[in-house]
């Protein structure tokens, strides 16, 4: 029984690595040949297109910029309140206020993204009908809805990471005269940072890939570079969805693969950066870099 899990683990690992290599290889195989300037800018001059002087047609540059903007906006909107909520939830999980809030966060962490899109869409209708007739589907709305989508996610991850730390740690901190805040901030958070980071990464991944929300709240098939927070925009996932489902020519299909490859690259770059940053952070708080990797308590 116990022996089996070893074999099963090896099997799964090989299986997953194999599958993912096939998938990524396939995207690379299809996408790499399309990686030319014309994939990004169509037949517009690249420089003019980048500056936004000329609109881009048949290129994914506007979608790249759109995705980056919307992810940046939503993550900066959601991360700080999300982590804060997580900390608060972990600080006293048995008090009634925390219990209610925790329940709400749990429920909302599981909310389907299409419902969030529906919410955004209805919100705009409501705003237009009442005190803000100028409201329209836009980048800001999409970011806001995405932020709402990932906020509970981040809060949950933070709370889990904090509450799964050994209790001995906070007792030690208290015995040394640290306030609860100091215990949380100087002892628990650094220990939980990798957990929080991976939660944050999942959240960013979710924001970057989500199509259902932005589809209903401001992403369109053609718009050019994002014109501002209050305007509609193009986004890579939507572009991929759009072209993969309804390409009219080989060139459009290639664009879908090219966009997929670019989106993959963009998200992996964000991840690598984040991972590097979090590694740096660890080193700053604790003198040695490898201190946390193997922390077997010698007993």
């Amino acid at each position: 029984m116990s022996r089996l899990i070893g074999y099963w683990g090896r099997l799964c690992a090989l299986f997953i690595i194999g599958i993912m290599l096939t998938l990524i290889g396939f995207i690379l195989f299809k996408g790499l040949p399309t990686l030319e300037l014309s994939l990004f800018f169509g037949d517009t001059a690249p420089l003019a297109a980048m500056m936004g002087l000329q609109p881009v047609w048949e290129g994914i540059w506007p979608a790249c910029v759109g995705t980056l903007t919307v992810v940046l906006c939503s993550v900066s909107l959601a991360s700080v309140p999300g982590v804060a909520s997580g900390i608060w939830l972990a600080s006293a999980p048995d008090k009634p206020a925390q219990k209610v809030f925790g329940l709400a966060v749990d429920i909302l962490a599981g909310i389907p993204s299409i419902l969030m899109g529906l919410f955004g869409f209805s919100l705009i209708l409501l705003l237009r009908g009442s005190f803000f007739p100028q409201a329209n589907a836009s980048l800001l709305l999409a970011s806001f809805c995405l932020a709402l989508l990932i906020l509970p996610y981040i809060a949950c991850a933070t709370q889990n990471a904090l509450s799964s730390l050994p209790k001995q740690l906070s007792v030690t901190g208290a015995a040394l005269g640290m306030t609860q805040w100091q215990v949380t901030y100087r002892l628990l958070l650094p220990q939980a940072s990798s957990g929080i980071m991976s939660g944050l990464m999942l959240a960013i991944g979710r924001a970057a890939e989500d199509t259902a929300v932005i589809m209903l709240t401001g992403a369109v098939a053609n718009a050019g570079l994002p014109g501002g927070l209050l305007q509609r925009f193009e986004a890579l996932p939507f572009t991929i969805f759009y072209y993969s489902a309804q390409y009219q020519s080989q060139q459009e299909l290639n664009m879908a693969f090219g966009a997929a490859l670019v989106l993959l690259t963009v998200t992996s770059i964000i991840f690598t950066l984040l991972a590097a940053v979090s590694r740096r952070r660890n080193r700053n708080i604790f003198g040695s870099a490898n201190s946390r990797k193997r922390n077997i308590y010698v007993r």
Binding site: A174, A175, L176, G177, Q191, F286
Partner: protein, 240 residues
């Protein structure tokens, strides 16, 4: 607070009718004690009789555990004046625990390197800058005779230290914070005779500075160090 106790100038702490219960099991019942300034009070008693619990009552660390109840009163004279420990509001506890330093029976390391274990509390709790904190670290490490053993590996993981080294590190960490009362839970349990002697001498020299409450199982050590011996048994202090 009874008046006869207040009269003594050198009484820095008194426990009156302290009873402690964990999950409805009484651990200590009606304990009465007085702590005298600059003396080392030795707590002895069979394993599991509540010595650690009594120490933790003095800095309210029992509060960190679930289903804990305490009655009775504990007062300590600190530099701030007289403090009613049992009444202290939650927000004052960190300060109390800083003033009443405790060394655990089972070494409780912080995550991170050896030097982190010393620096972090100094920076966070005492608010020292790096230079001062580092100087103080070296000082205390020398005093607990750990400096030679760790000076070339200060950045190694603290959990790679041997049991005795960990115990001395925890003692050093508490000393570095310069509390006013020291609670020591078997600080020499896993030390060899030589190191034990060093620590005992250190404690002896600290008597002028600190009031200490210490747990020890060694009758010999008790005789060598103790100014006053309390024997805990059957939930009570015998022979205060």
């Amino acid at each position: 607070m009874s008046d006869k106790v207040r009269d003594f100038e050198d009484v820095v702490g008194y426990l009156e009718d302290v009873s402690i219960r964990f999950s409805d099991k009484t651990i200590l019942r009606d304990v009465n004690l007085q702590l005298l300034k600059g003396q080392l009070h030795m707590l002895t008693g069979p394993s599991g009789c509540g010595k650690t619990t009594l120490l933790r009552a003095l800095n309210r660390l029992n509060d960190c555990f679930d289903r804990h109840e305490m009655s009775g009163s504990i007062s300590l004279k600190l530099s701030e004046g007289e403090v009613d420990v049992h009444l202290l509001a939650h927000k004052h506890l960190p300060l109390l625990r800083r003033k009443v330093g405790m060394v655990f029976q089972i070494p409780n390391l912080l995550p991170g390197s050896i030097i982190d274990n010393l620096l972090l509390p100094l920076k966070v709790v005492a608010g020292l800058d790096l230079a001062h904190a580092t100087a103080r670290c070296e000082n205390v490490l020398v005093r607990v005779k750990l400096w030679n053993e760790v000076k070339d590996r200060l950045n190694n993981d603290a959990s790679s230290l041997s049991g005795g080294q960990q115990q001395r590190l925890c003692l050093a960490r508490t000393l570095a914070l310069e509390p006013e009362i020291l609670l020591l839970d078997e600080p020499t349990a896993s030390l060899d005779p030589e190191n034990t002697k060093v620590i005992e001498e250190l404690l002896e020299s600290l008597k002028q500075q600190y009031t200490m409450v210490m747990v020890s199982h060694s009758p010999a050590q008790t005789v060598r160090l103790a100014d006053k011996v309390f024997r805990l048994d059957g939930q009570q202090v015998i022979g205060a």
